[in-house]
């Protein structure tokens, strides 16, 4: 995984936590999500779908759930190549990663907006 990351210098860090990172590739117009031991490529639609499915998981309810089911969620995204099988702790970490990423993308958008208007 580390070798993949060093090869690609055109990736920009969008957001990083101790559990993972998301990079943007301008050339391919996509993002690379480094999480849960793999680096997965997401285009715009799929990244939004990933965010939606992660945000939809009711973490509080899952924590209070006392049945003996294993505490794992499967995140399957329609029309995307990736699927995550995550524990609750990982889901919280992924949610944090995505939240940070979208704040940064939004910020980037605002900067672009101001630059265009300022011209």
């Amino acid at each position: 995984m580390i070798t993949t990351l060093t090869q690609t210098n055109q990736w920009t860090d969008v957001f990083k936590t101790s559990k993972g990172a998301i990079y943007q590739c301008d050339e391919e117009r996509c993002w690379y999500v480094d999480f849960a031991g793999k680096v997965a490529k997401f285009d715009y639609r799929c990244l939004l779908k990933l965010r939606k499915s992660v945000y939809h998981i009711n973490i509080e309810q899952a924590l209070l759930n006392t049945t003996k089911d294993p505490d794992v969620e499967i995140i399957f995204i329609c029309a995307c190549d990736h699927c995550y099988v995550l524990t609750l702790v990982q889901i919280i970490a992924l949610k944090e990663l995505l939240e940070g990423t979208f704040v940064m993308l939004e910020l980037n958008h605002i900067l672009h907006d101001k630059l265009v208007i300022g011209q």
């Binding site: 943007q24 301008d26 993308l105 980037n108 958008h109 907006d113």
Partner: protein
């Protein structure tokens, strides 16, 4: 870093979700009017029934207008699920009272999207919404006029028959 969000879509996720809510609201309006058309027809108010059939169709067109706009801007339109449509009314007058309530709530919803657009400086969507603001002027006018007939004509005697006849003639030349 390129602004990929902007490249893919002209509208923000917030605006997109507000517009999708509006799609649902218009679809709901259409179903409500269809139910009113049925009630009026069953109770012998033929002109009002026709009036509501026409309104139902208009609301469907409004729904599609929002639906297609979202797609054209690079967003994701969501086909809404509509439930909880009232099928029975207590009186002829109640039908028109609720029709006006419905239009007022639609106007408010559009104003709310408009405010959000201004905040984001999304002037493209503002321009799109202008058509709807004008439309709401007409919609509220017609609903209010219809309700006024109950005051002007009165419900006694052949009053309701008269009111029904006049509902078919309401026009707005704004």
């Amino acid at each position: 870093m390129k602004d990929l969000l902007r490249i893919k879509s002209l509208i923000s996720t917030e605006i997109e979700s507000l517009l999708n809510q509006q799609v649902k609201k218009e679809a709901y309006s259409s179903s409500v009017y269809l139910s009113m058309a049925s009630w009026c027809n069953r109770n012998g108010y033929d002109f009002s029934s026709d009036y509501f059939f026409k309104q139902a169709e208009e609301e469907r067109l409004h729904q599609l207008k929002f639906y297609k706009y979202i797609l054209d801007m690079g967003g994701n339109s969501i086909s809404p699920e509509i439930t909880g449509i009232k099928q029975e009314y207590n009186s002829f007058r109640e039908v028109f009272e609720e029709a006006l309530d419905q239009e007022i709530s639609v106007t408010n919803a559009i104003k709310n999207i408009y405010a959000r657009c201004l905040k984001e400086q999304d002037f493209v969507t503002v321009e799109f919404l202008n058509w709807f603001l004008k439309e709401q002027r007409e919609e509220e006018y017609k609903a209010r006029r219809a309700l006024e007939l109950f005051e002007v004509i009165g419900e006694e005697g052949t009053g309701r028959w008269q009111i029904d006849k006049h509902v078919g003639e309401i026009k707005y030349n704004g």
